[in-house]
Each structure stands twice: as C-alpha cells, then as structure tokens.
Subunit: 131 residues, 2 copies
C-alpha cells in the first residue's frame, strides 16, 4: 500500500470506466475500493461477506431482496451516506444520474458476487483493479 | 447494524466529544468508526492491525515513526484523502484546526493501541462507542 496519503478526488479523476472498482489501498486482508457508477449493476449475492458502501458524490440506490429472493425494497444513499449490505442479501446497486462510491470488502471479493444474474456488457466482473 | 443508510453528517452532528470514536456500522468483524478530532492524540502502536483513515472534513496530520521508534515524519491528509497506518507503526494523529474522520479497523481495536504514551485527559481510551 502507498506510504503517502491518496486524494480520492485525484484517484477518481484517473479513470472513466463505470462499474469497474479500483483498489485504493488495503487494510489487513481488506480492500478499500472506489468506483464510478451510472445506470444499473446486476443482481448479485456475496455469500460470505458483508459489503460496505460510502457515497463520495452523487446518489446511489441499492435494491435489496430477502435472502430467499422476495420482499424487494430500495435504500437511497445521498452523498455522505453509508450502508452495509449484509452477507447473503441479493442486491443491485444503481444510480440514475451517476455516483462515485467507496467500498470495504475482503480482498478477492468478486464485484458480481458468488451468485449473480447474467452479467451485462457494461458491468466489469473483477476482484478490483490497481489504481 | 442499521438496515437503513446512515448520513455521516447527521451522525457527526449527534456528538461533540473529541478523540472519542463512534461505531457507525460493522462490516464482518470490522468497525466503521467516526470521530471528531482537534489538537493532538497520543503516540500509540497497533501491534496486530493496520488502521485506515479517511478525512471527511478539515485536515488531519499523522506523525509516524519507524517501528523501532526513529525516523519521524508527518503525513498530511486534506478532506477527501485516505491513508493506512501499517500495523506496528508508532503514530500520533493531530489536527490544529479540527477535523472529522472515518476509520476502518477490526472490532475491539483500542483507540490508544496496544502500546502508548501516557494518555492525556482529552483522549478517550475506548474500543468505540455506539453512535
């Protein structure tokens, strides 16, 4: 990891690809990732880990279903809001007007989870790219 | 953890105590903590964990020494900057004009580390308070 501070605005300015998380730094066995997002991600589930979201800019929606796949609802995260999707919870992030987000999750966590719907062309299935 | 998003600005407005981290939410066995800070914290070391800092407002300085206690330097984090203090690194956060910060570290991590200088009155030795 970097031995100098990293300005998230500068880091975000360094790439354009949507739904393609960059690993900013690591904390023990966890990644701190940032992503630019717009439109809809894909319904997916992380079976073994919670996933933390912080909205750096814009507004993020996260559609959620019960672990049995029912009871859909959507949480709305304006800039400066945080939310943790519990492990095992089907979810689909989206942002109509675009957003920049920060995530904490164990290194190696796939962006599309352990189970997912068909991955659309605009979604990058990755465990995170170097910044 | 909350099943609704948490606005960090609202959370920060809910307390005044300096150097007294609040646990905003949990991610697996990790805490997401926020704190208001001003002046100097205490030199301390986390022997077994890295510690992640994100500056939400203001400017944070983190003085660092080599693990043998030599070679002091200070990193400067403006608003929107992140930095990870590696495990075993003596460090002392400070903020001349005050700052609000977010931290990510294993639940149970003491705010003053596993080893520390004498704790001044204004520093809260805690594993984090509920919000």
């Amino acid at each position: 990891m970097s031995d100098e501070p990293i300005d998230l605005a500068v880091a975000l300015a360094g790439f354009d690809q949507l739904w393609s998380p960059r690993i900013v730094t690591r904390v023990n066995e966890y990644d701190v990732r940032i992503a630019k997002v717009a439109g809809e991600h894909v319904w997916h589930v992380h079976d073994h880990t919670d996933e933390f979201f912080l909205v750096l800019d814009g507004e993020l929606h996260i559609a959620l279903r019960d672990s049995d796949g029912d009871g859909e609802r959507t949480v709305v995260l304006p800039r400066g809001a945080v939310y943790v999707v519990p492990r095992g919870t089907p979810h689909r992030p989206s942002s109509a007007d675009g957003a920049s987000i920060l995530m904490f999750e164990p290194s190696g966590t796939p962006s599309v989870g352990d189970r997912h719907d068909e991955i659309p062309e605009h979604v990058d299935a990755t465990t995170g790219h170097v910044l």
